[in-house]
């Protein structure tokens, strides 16, 4: 994927002329008033009734024209991400996306049902109600609507990479839609902005970076956070054009956004800096001046340009609309908000109250943490019998083959990561087959783990099937915001009903002298965030099977391999590269009667040797490879069944002790485990040291055969023969 070269990027200031305003269709003026007034009424009602909202209210009052102008320039199928302060962006986008082409704001007696519905569901979500956009899980700061094309996130800058992902999906599919990331001046400092801008520029994505400069991040001015005030100049660093526009004027903002949209679709990303102002403090009903970080005079100057008051008045003065027309449209907006409020509250002596039956049922509090699991699978896909006609293959060949097969099977699967399309198959050679057969689906990214992880989220929410590769597991820490604040939480916090199909893969590189920053086992990290499923397949057949389960899953799945397994061999079942190992299904490596050993990955290769030796000494260990490690996918019942026969358990893994899984798995097996045990449960891990470079030290900190042996013997609790 490439972008076109451009001449020196432009930084233009868009100035609406009187002639352009006079030439603006009256309907557009009417819709702008409708949107601005709806947002204003909506926000005022919330501030006046803050007691009905559980949580903070970051009012957008003052910024309505920016959101309205932007939404007027967008298609309903364009996708907008926004921030903790997003009521204006969401109401404008959803209301205008739902406005029928023949809706005449000057003639209609009321907005249509279809226009009212998303506004009511937005208000309901902010109030935490079942009919809300996200069934009350997201509230004010985490809003989502697929149909109207909005997603908001409470993490500053967090919505920018997913908007790029939507733009990526649009470009690959050729839909002509754009992704729009609305964010504030504060967000232009954070890494997510820069990674998303870099990725969008490198790939020429149809992304509009809508910088709503309201001059303050909480109480810190732009001058103080940035050292300068014209933030649009940041676009120059990415060789992209920028347009600065008066964000207090909806038509000027519309014109700038319409030009930006045209550029984005034809050429690639563009930044629009809308100069605007929030009249209130960060949150709550007081003006910023009450907190003394800005003056009343400054606020008065901006109030004089109030988009809900001064702008309609300017239309009257210009003779473009009559007072009756303005009042009529404002009346539609007021009636719309009143109607939403009436649907969600009852009047009491103490003012409006929420009928208890409108809250979500508490039984639903856990619903939608994960998707519904795998579809029904044909028996031949899950049959694990090695194919008698097949040759053994290496673990590496299994990885190469199944990645290639996945991209061939799914034209909308895309593989993103650093170098993955270069060197004939990435730095590890694992995309070799994919590059050979489906090069267009293998996208080498800039070095931007957070950027490409967020892009994967946006593409996944748009319905594509992204696969992301982290060259080393430790590099996932660069992407923690997108991996854990966003990808892990997206299904749940946006209502539990939509799929987040992302496959992530990485390779444990302990034992190669890469040192403390290339050697972690990421299982403990990823399983700390439910929403992620985690597989650690040990054999070629298991890798293929877990991979295909991950591709069939509608949840994000991390698949961990280990370079120390690269040359190990095995024979695939007869389903070949279509073989599936469902979540919750372990592999019985070896039956035994004296102790159950749960182990996977490199550790399992050490366990195999120790167990064979102990068998000669009269201790018969049963070895189970769980294959799936997250709590929801771990084969709990099968492990308990085994321990029920052996009365003892050892968990052996090569992770650094503190980052290891064993303690958590033992806790997950409780309280059912304890009554089954004859002896204390035992864990074997690496030492609690970051894998050092010096070879003898490195070897010493990894899992040791002597420790495995001692644990199994002690747990078995019997004298050796």
């Amino acid at each position: 994927m490439t972008a076109e070269a451009t001449a020196a990027p432009e930084l233009t200031r868009y100035q609406l002329t009187e002639a352009e305003l006079a030439g603006t269709p009256r309907r557009r003026l009417g819709l702008a008033i409708l949107s601005i007034q709806t947002i204003r009424r909506f926000e005022k009602w919330l501030l006046d009734n803050a007691g009905l909202v559980h949580g903070p209210l970051h009012s957008s009052i003052g910024q309505e024209a920016t959101a309205t102008g932007a939404a007027l320039a967008l298609r309903s199928s364009d996708w907008l991400t926004s921030t903790h302060r997003a009521h204006h962006d969401v109401v404008a986008k959803l209301l205008l996306a739902a406005t029928p082409a023949d809706f005449d704001p000057f003639a209609a007696d009321a907005v249509t049902e279809g226009m009212a519905d998303p506004v009511q569901r937005t208000l309901a979500e902010i109030m935490g109600l079942e009919q809300g956009l996200c069934h009350g899980r997201g509230g004010s700061m985490h809003l989502w609507d697929r149909q109207g094309g909005v997603m908001t996130t409470a993490i500053v800058g967090g919505g920018i990479p997913p908007a790029g992902g939507y733009a990526l999906a649009s470009k690959l599919r050729g839909t002509g839609d754009v992704g729009v990331a609305a964010f504030g001046d504060g967000a232009s400092q954070i890494g997510a902005f820069h990674e998303a801008a870099a990725l969008a520029r490198a790939w020429g994505l149809p992304l509009i970076l809508l910088l709503e400069n309201n001059h303050y991040s909480v109480a810190t001015s732009v001058q103080e956070t940035a050292g300068f005030t014209r933030l649009a100049t940041r676009a120059r660093g990415y060789d992209m054009p920028a347009i600065v526009v008066d964000g207090m004027d909806p038509i000027a903002t519309y014109e700038a956004m319409a030009r930006a949209r045209e550029h984005a679709v034809a050429h690639g990303p563009v930044l629009v800096e809308a100069i605007t102002y929030r009249y209130y403090h960060q949150n709550g009903p007081l003006p910023g001046s009450a907190f003394k970080y800005r003056s009343k005079d400054e606020e008065r100057d901006w109030r004089a340009r109030d988009p809900a008051v001064a702008w309609p008045r300017s239309l009257l003065e210009a003779g473009l609309l009559t007072a009756d027309e303005v009042q009529h449209v404002q009346g539609l907006a007021n009636a719309l908000v009143a109607r939403c409020v009436a649907a969600l509250t009852v009047e009491t002596e103490d003012g409006p109250a929420i009928p208890p039956e409108l809250y979500p049922p508490v039984e639903d509090a856990h619903r939608g943490m994960l998707g519904p699991g795998l579809p029904d699978l044909a028996p031949e896909l899950v049959d694990e019998t090695p194919d008698p006609g097949a040759e053994p293959m290496t673990y590496t060949e299994a990885i190469q083959g199944v990645i290639g097969r996945a991209l061939e099977r799914e034209p909308e699967a895309i593989f993103l990561g650093e170098e993955v399309g270069h060197l004939g198959g990435g730095v590890m050679g694992l995309t070799k087959a994919a590059v050979a057969s489906r090069p267009a689906q293998v996208l080498s990214t800039p070095i931007c783990e957070n950027g490409f992880s967020g892009a994967a989220l946006g593409a996944a929410l748009a319905g594509m099937h992204p696969i992301i590769e982290f060259m080393y597991p430790d590099f996932t820490l660069e992407a923690t915001d997108q991996l854990f604040n966003h990808i892990a939480k997206s299904r749940y916090m946006y209502g539990g009903d939509h799929d987040v199909p992302i496959v992530a893969r990485t390779q444990i590189s302990r034992g190669r002298g890469y040192g403390p920053q290339h050697s972690c086992d990421p299982a403990g990290l990823f399983t700390s965030y439910p929403g992620w499923r985690v597989a650690a397949p040990t054999t070629p057949a298991d890798y293929v099977g877990c991979w295909n389960a991950a591709m069939l899953s509608r949840d994000p799945v991390l698949i961990i391999d280990d370079h120390r397994l690269a040359k190990t061999t095995g024979v695939l079942p007869s389903a070949g590269f279509d073989h599936v190992v469902p979540m919750g299904k372990p592999r019985l490596v070896r039956p035994g009667r004296d102790v159950t050993v749960v182990t996977w990955g490199y550790a399992s290769t050490r366990v195999a040797e120790v167990v064979a030796e102990l068998a000669g000494r009269g201790i018969e260990a049963e070895v189970l490879d769980p294959r799936w490690l997250d709590e929801a996918s771990f084969p709990r019942a099968a492990v308990l069944e085994s321990v029920g026969r052996t009365g003892a358990i050892v968990i052996a893994e090569d992770a650094q002790h503190t980052l290891s899984m064993g303690a958590r798995l033992l806790d997950h097996l409780q309280p059912d485990l304890h009554p089954l045990l004859r002896t204390a449960p035992r864990r074997v891990t690496g030492l609690d040291a970051y894998s050092p470079v010096s070879k003898p030290l490195e070897t010493y900190v990894h899992i040791q055969d002597d420790d495995i042996r001692a644990a199994i013997v002690a747990a078995a609790g019997k004298d050796e023969a």
């Binding site: 403090h281 001046s289 907190f291 003394k292």
Partner: protein, 79 residues
Amino acid sequence: MSTPIKMPNLGAETDEARVGNWLKGVGDTVMEGEIIAEIETEKANVDLEMPATGRLTEILIEAGTDAKVGTVLARYDEA
């Protein structure tokens, strides 16, 4: 008609704040937007403004006293 001035909602972090100091007294006629008191929270000191021009008739919460959001702090007669 006497109108209440209530302890404002200062954001989600707190449901209580302290009246730090009254800058106007009973009987004073105050313009809309003039600061009548300072409100102190753990995070910030904020100005309490006169909601509409009028004459203060009662001060119900003394300086230095904590009050919940929504508590009537004073009353005034609109001009």
